[in-house]
Symmetry: C2
């Protein structure tokens, strides 16, 4: 049993209005701005029905209506208008990616920055699935008598550089040989395989056991340190711009959640198969007492390889339409990056 087209129009009207005003919407408002051919009384009847159905709420008897999470759900799934980004917005996005970028970290940082700049919302970006990264090579460089630097190069970029303690009597040549040896052994293996080495690897690396253990320990540290890669947060104070968080109690709950970045990971993930993921309200109640909010994330690929997720986090009342357009356009832009194609060429959307 679907709902009538007119009801859908009304839901859309309520959500659209509420997104900009953050105040209950009255029947008169809807008549004036969306359905001038109906009387406010008729609209009131519909509103009452929609409230009965769980799409709308009244803060108090004599107030207008406010959308529930259900309404937002319907809105983003079906009713939301496609938004076209303005020329200047496109320009801003392109400017973030129009120069050569080599490090995945930087791509993600830029992605987060540009999302925040355009949407005025707090944005997050993260590298997922470190375990499935494929090792290209491993370099071990002696820095001084006591320490060496381990660099693990993967298809997702430089995974991690960390220092390890070494015996003092090992010379540089030793590390060059070791690097080559270990690189060969690990080449084209995934991080996961290295963490659980099979007999072959174990045997192969017996000679460099100390270094080998150190490398595994670095990788394990890294993977277990939240099980995920870096999470980049941008514009966390934007949260305070929304009237929803006008009182300090709520604002703090939100900011504290953001400050504990690692706990955000499970909410950003889970969108690996889907390119766009919208979680509204209870959808993302990972932890007890988590503040109500909405999270929209996209799964980003560069040259066919998934490099991470990025998106926004904000009040349930957010401009989903704009957010989706931005995430979408950034996705297209990123996908074209490595081919060396100019980013200006991919602006052949609808219209």
């Amino acid at each position: 049993m679907g709902i009538s087209e007119r009801k859908e129009k009304i839901i859309q009207a309520v959500v659209d209005s509420y997104i900009v005003s953050c105040e209950p919407i009255s029947s008169a408002e809807i008549k004036q701005n969306f359905l001038p051919d109906l009387s406010s009384a008729t609209i009131r009847n519909e509103l009452a029905a929609l409230e009965e159905m769980g799409y709308l709420e009244q803060p108090h008897t004599s107030a207008g209506r406010v959308p529930t999470a259900e309404a937002y759900r319907l809105y983003v799934d079906k009713l939301m208008p496609k938004r076209k980004l303005s020329k200047s917005e496109l320009k801003v996005i392109n400017s973030y990616f129009d120069h050569k970028i080599t490090e995945i970290d930087e791509i993600l940082r830029n992605t987060a920055k540009v999302i925040t700049e355009i949407t005025s919302l707090t944005s997050v970006a993260m590298v997922p699935n470190v375990k499935s990264a494929v090792v290209d090579s491993i370099k071990i460089v002696k820095l001084n008598d006591k320490t060496a630097l381990v660099v693990i190069v993967t298809n997702l970029g430089i995974l991690k550089d960390a220092t390890v303690e070494i015996a003092e009597d090992l010379n540089e040549q030793y590390f060059i040989t070791a690097s080559n040896f270990i690189s060969t052994a690990f080449h084209n293996r995934t991080i996961e395989e290295i963490m659980n080495p099979d007999d072959m690897i174990n045997e192969l690396l017996a000679e460099y056991e100390q270094l080998f253990r150190a490398i595994i320990s670095i990788i394990t540290d890294y993977v277990e340190n939240g099980g995920v890669g870096d999470i980049v947060l941008e514009g966390s104070t934007k949260i305070l711009d929304h009237p929803e968080y006008a009182n300090v109690r709520k604002a703090r709950a939100m900011l504290e959640m953001l400050e504990a970045k690692e706990q955000l990971a499970p909410m950003l993930q889970g969108s690996n198969d889907v390119s766009l993921n919208i979680k509204i309200g209870k959808d993302n109640e990972i932890a007890e007492g988590m503040p109500e909010c909405a999270i929209v994330t996209a799964n980003y690929r560069v040259g066919g390889v998934t490099i991470g997720n990025a998106g926004v986090i904000g009040p349930i009342r957010m401009d989903y339409s704009k957010v989706v357009s931005v995430l979408d356009y950034i996705g297209k832009t990123l996908n074209l990056l490595p081919e060396g194609k100019s980013v200006d060429d991919n602006n052949n959307d609808e219209e």
Copy 2:
């Protein structure tokens, strides 16, 4: 013209009380908790005099007194009681530094963390004076056909690792030779000298000019990117715990200032000669419209070498006594780090 001892006692009473209550202090309160042998009327006379002198303020006529920045100044310079940290606090601090720490970054991160944990204030830590860091060696490692990693090791730790693009036909041996060559040329030079190479260096490095330029470019990037090293922020949401920032306007001003980390640098610096630096209110009005706050920073040395500044940032009404003790104790702890001495040995303070 100094002020009488009794007046000082009263200022101390007002500040001490205000630090815990954040509410105007009445003459009766002072009598009860600090000066029971005087009548409240006498205290009122003194309070009026101190207000005249600029040390105290009344929010409104029928309210108690609140200390001005002047009063805090006098308090920290002269009146503040020496606080002894509790056993459990000392334990917490020691636990952050009782294992081998090699990277300066990690020391600073830990420092910030422990400061926040104990003071419940937002803390900052930064590496200053990159320019005067002395280069130990420089390593260039070929990662793949197109990129190489440059690692600059200084007396302050690994200054920066960054990738550079390289010509495809250079083999690994080339970089080993180049590393050695460049390392030798730069050894014991400061970053500043490298940024403005003299003729000798220029001549010496003519052979590796491309790499040489790339390295200088990395260093320049790094130094100009705020002119300072990393700034670590810890516990920024602690700001919201203080009643001073109960309204969102003020909270946002503060948080936005913190988010623009780089701008904090000049406020943390300037304490290179002094080991402890307390800036109250207008003392640190770097930018127009900066929220009123106090900043207490310490200059930290490990083995005689300054490694950075760290401290707290919070409302003018903060527990200076505790903050100073904490920063002080951490300073002593850090200073003993490299000698391998147990951190538990340095607990021979007063009492």
